[in-house]
Symmetry: C2
Subunit: 651 residues, 2 copies
């Protein structure tokens, strides 16, 4: 499959990534950007003076002197940058970027140990503890990001340099891990290598990579004391001192074997990275039981533990899931990386079954929490994506120190910024999937390319008015085949739709959210119209924070109120039964967007409340007010102020 996205909405991001994010992040990783690095939450232990990521590699390579600085997983920032740069290069080749990448690759080659190992923290500070503190070491996590960068770079440039580095590291890992006597029989505390190995398999076809991935997935949680025992052994062997910290196995999903996990628990990014890998391994190894396990986790997330914005992770404590229907809007985590992980998970589930319940969520994550993670200037980022913000609370309630009212320039833990860049530049991989005789269209944006089916190729092109309105035209041209099926996802936000093929409206029953068309002419044009109106969503009654409230959505975008448009005290507003109207604007700050407007009500703070906190109940005084909603991803791009997704609904 080879697809090129040439969509107005998304090309703005590609250009932003190319012109702003990649050079900016390069400078940050080289400690050459004059910025303040924010702690992702109020915690003294977060290293936030500088990135030092390139410098760590230089020190490990013997090209510089000094100590390691930053998190144990600082290397992964470089690998994710490299992956984003490679993807961007594929979209828009550029000699300067190629040489920037080559410089980094040389550094990685130089930093790699003879035996294939790379992890600058352990190489510089603690070589004796390599692979011996897996609960937190992130060595295989970083290996995974190295491998993903290698695959992306190989696909973009044809260069095998990083593939070679990766293969050597994989060999090192194979030498150390496994259920044979004398090897380490466990997995990294942060899942990532599991999904990377499958990507490496996809280009090298080395099946031992799939087996290694399956091994890491299956060994997890088999011995819930694995991490603790490693630490105890280090103390016994004089490699480190006690005491052994309390290890919360749910945090890294090692509390029980993955096949037995039916709920999404622990650190949200780890969970979805793991689940994405499980779905992929299950697909390639035809492991039905593992796919069943994936379905249970998927269902638990999307029916009990996911925000309307596609955000996951209800608490900052462990950046974690909590329990069913616990979705607070103002203390949540909703990490950008976690929604990116949900996209991976959805994409891999679609390999098994074409079901809109996967692709709807994929779209929901992408158009809301994922792109909310980056400012429209490309240089400021959200780690946490709240659904309700009061700037005063972010400053004065220590329990909300992780909730930022504006996007910081960078973070002590900088996982999100390069993750956004690498994901958006690989968007071409999310639009379609295919099997022997069918193409499935999951996302709608201008694009063109070719998709190989069993017996031939189909050239496909979309021309759309998405995401502004719901018109999509498909051009199909068959090559060497006489017929195929095209499955078109009917989005959950489309209350109605029309599909016209050969001048005739196509009737048909939806199959798990897709409408299927038989294509048998060499050239076919299909016109699709999705009704794109403002929808008011309500939450399950057990979601306490959303009781009596609705959230607006139009097309793929969830909307929100911002103080800049609606004045202070957003929580006093109510949506009434007045019509919600659409207003396309070219906003100087927010770009081309469609505003949603309605006449609502706002509760008045009457004089009787002066110097009173409580008084006897009386009917409230309200006044009419104009409510203006903007797409969620555009919030916090103007002045700092309140924001709210869920708004009171006056029945």
């Amino acid at each position: 499959m080879s697809i090129k996205v040439n969509d107005k909405f998304w090309e703005r991001y590609f250009k932003l990534i190319r012109d702003e994010m990649i050079p900016y992040q390069w400078n940050v990783l080289h400690d050459q950007e004059n910025i303040t690095i924010d702690k992702e939450r109020d915690d003294e232990n977060i290293p936030s003076e500088k990135s030092h990521a390139i410098q760590n590699l230089k020190i490990a390579a013997g090209l510089a002197e000094g100590d390691h600085y930053g998190w144990l997983f600082q290397d992964s920032d470089v690998y994710k940058w490299l992956e984003a740069a490679s993807n961007s290069y594929a979209i828009h080749p550029d000699e300067k970027l190629l040489s920037m990448m080559d410089e980094v690759i040389s550094l990685i080659e130089a930093a790699q140990d003879e035996d294939g190992y790379i992890s600058t923290y352990y190489q510089i500070n603690n070589p004796k503890l390599k692979f011996r503190r897996l609960f937190e070491s992130h060595e295989l996590y970083c290996a995974g990001h190295l491998i993903e960068a290698a695959v992306a770079h190989y696909k973009a440039t044809g260069s095998e340099r990083l593939i070679t580095v990766s293969n050597q590291f994989v060999q090192c890992i194979k030498n150390h891990f496994g259920d044979e006597e004398g090897k380490i029989n466990g997995a990294d505390g942060h899942q990532e290598i599991e999904l990377a190995l499958v990507k490496l398999y996809e280009v090298t076809k080395d099946e031992s990579l799939l087996e290694l991935s399956a091994y890491f997935l299956e060994v997890r949680g088999q011995d819930p004391d694995f991490y603790k025992k490693q630490l105890e052994e280090n103390i016994e062997n004089g490699l480190s001192q006690g005491p052994v910290p309390t290890i919360n196995n749910e945090y890294h999903q090692s509390h029980k074997p993955v096949m037995e996990q039916e709920e999404a628990v622990g650190h949200a990014v780890r969970l979805v990275y793991m689940a994405a890998a499980m779905a992929d391994v299950a697909y390639y190894l035809n492991n039905e039981k593992m796919y069943e396990a994936c379905k249970k986790i998927w269902k638990n997330i999307v029916t009990k533990r996911m925000y309307i914005t596609g955000g996951i992770g209800s608490t900052v404590h462990g950046e974690a899931f909590t329990y069913d229907y616990d979705l607070p809007n103002d203390t949540m985590y909703c990490e950008t990386c976690a929604s990116i992980g949900m996209m991976f998970f959805a994409k891999n589930m679609l390999k098994h079954e074409t079901d809109a319940s996967y692709s709807d969520i994929l779209e929901r994550c992408l158009y809301n929490t994922v792109i909310s993670g980056v400012a429209l200037d490309g240089k400021h980022f959200f780690y946490v994506n709240p659904l309700e913000v009061q700037p005063e609370a972010c400053q004065k309630d220590p329990g909300k120190s992780h909730v930022k009212a504006t996007r910081p320039s960078w973070f002590g833990c900088a996982c999100c910024p390069p993750n956004i860049a690498r994901t958006l530049t690989s968007l071409d991989q999310y639009i379609y999937s295919s099997n022997e005789d069918s193409v499935f269209a999951h996302l709608f944006m201008d694009n063109e390319g070719e998709i190989n089916l069993d017996k031939g190729t189909v050239a496909i092109r979309q021309e759309t008015t998405m995401p502004y309105s719901g018109n999509v035209r498909f051009y199909l041209e068959l090559d060497n085949i006489n017929k195929m099926r095209l499955g078109i996802r009917i989005p959950s936000w489309a209350e109605d739709f029309q599909i016209i093929k050969d001048g005739k409206e196509v009737e048909g029953k939806l199959d798990r959210g897709y409408l299927y068309l038989e294509i048998s002419k060499r050239q076919t044009v299909i016109d699709v119209h999705f009704e794109m109106k403002a929808i008011q969503w309500a939450s399950h009654p057990l979601v306490r924070g959303n009781q009596g409230k609705v959230a607006l959505q139009r097309g793929p975008f969830v909307y929100c109120l911002e103080e800049e448009d609606n004045g202070e005290n957003l929580h006093l507003n109510s949506i009434t039964n007045q019509q919600v109207t659409e207003k396309p604007v070219e906003d100087s700050a927010l770009g081309d967007i469609v505003l949603l407007e309605t006449i609502g009500q706002k509760e008045k703070i009457t004089k009787e409340w002066n110097e009173r906190l409580y008084q006897k109940y009386a009917t409230k005084e309200v006044e009419q007010t104009q409510l203006t909603f903007i797409p969620y991803y555009t919030w916090a791009n103007r002045s700092s102020g309140q924001m709210q997704v869920w708004v009171n609904k006056k029945e």
Copy 2:
């Protein structure tokens, strides 16, 4: 003033304290009670294996060997027990209790250093750092509790043993603290000695104690770097190692001079202990400026930062205030000790001005958050007094680990249990105040005693149906005086009232919430009837969590819904315009209480919600339901379940 409380409602507590709490707490302090000690929140550093408080004193006294165990302020648990025991002895003399107290007093005498110093942590573990880590050492905090115990013990028994110990410690403190060259020019990180010194002054009339208290109040915040400098000096002098921790001065109200503080910030208990001392010192030293500062802090709390239950402290982080109108119901702190401190503050403000805004709050704290702190069995305690509880959240949301759904037996930090005991046994001190020719009746309960006015004495007796209904009869008998004034507080919960004196209804205008009667006969009987009906309170519109909700109150009691009476998912209930009826019951578990009942509505969780988290908004289905409210202080005395104070109001 000498008052004896002989009230049915309160005598149950006195008996509980005498028969259960004091012996139980004695056993716990001696590590002789077989209980599990809970951490007050999920924090590995909380010492919770045992109390060890008596053992620490034995070790300091040289009567046992070993290390100190527990918090730096573990000694204060013993002093507060001693104060409670003394107060209880005054109510109900008992030889066995006297000898238990004597044993502890002997231990304290033995533990005291030659120079008067006592603080077992520093005596045992770190003598070189005495008075050198004031930001957290609690040495003067413990001294304060020692002094309060001494005063109570002296008043109850006439014994001066602990007064002597206290005087020696005070002398030690005077030797070390002050603005003279060479002395430590600062105050303890936890206010307490400031109010204790005034109590010692009240019995000894030693005015230097008032000056010392005023000194500690006024030096606070003069140099915001005081605590940091102490730590830096220790490092310079080789007494301890770095690094110096970050010190949050607002936490202990040392961010600016107390006279300039206009908002209640930081650790709630510290703030109210400080404010209570300020009010007292301002009263005795006639310091108008200090009283003005108290009024600002009072006003900020009661008009912006106090829960309807009299709870204060909106966050577990630093057990602290946050910002105006930030009163979340499910993550708050509302520490029992903080509401006890509000009672101290209110009591001392009443010395300046007889204003029902003080005594209403006093009553609100006492009848709600303070007695909610102890189970009806006297052996289980709340540190944190939530307004909304879901047991699942307490277990699975780490941000709510401090919120307990049932009262634990004891806490790692055990400040609250003995604080409740000492406060309730001193209730006689809160009912009345007086000046030269007037008596002011603030609280209503059966009691009798004598109050000295300038020219004579009045014998006073209350016979009441409180807190069950609003009838209060006062018997007054003047001795050596011809006339006096009686001010009767008209509670904010009484929508109407009647006062009959000499068979005639008294008319009159309220003066700051009090009705004044001129008494000129030797014997006078006054009948008061307060209308005691269920009131529905609403919150200021800026209190986000209470929007669209009401809380019920009847008489002094705030009410709540419990799952045991109302089924699960309390948040789905709404109060409608149906009448709220009263139902007195003798409940086997909850004692004599008046239930409030009404026909409300409950939102149904319809089948459409199966396996769905969001769906398009539709009018909700509701069903009629019986709602049964119990007084807040009785919650969590039956099965573990949900609880809710603020309930949806259907307009």
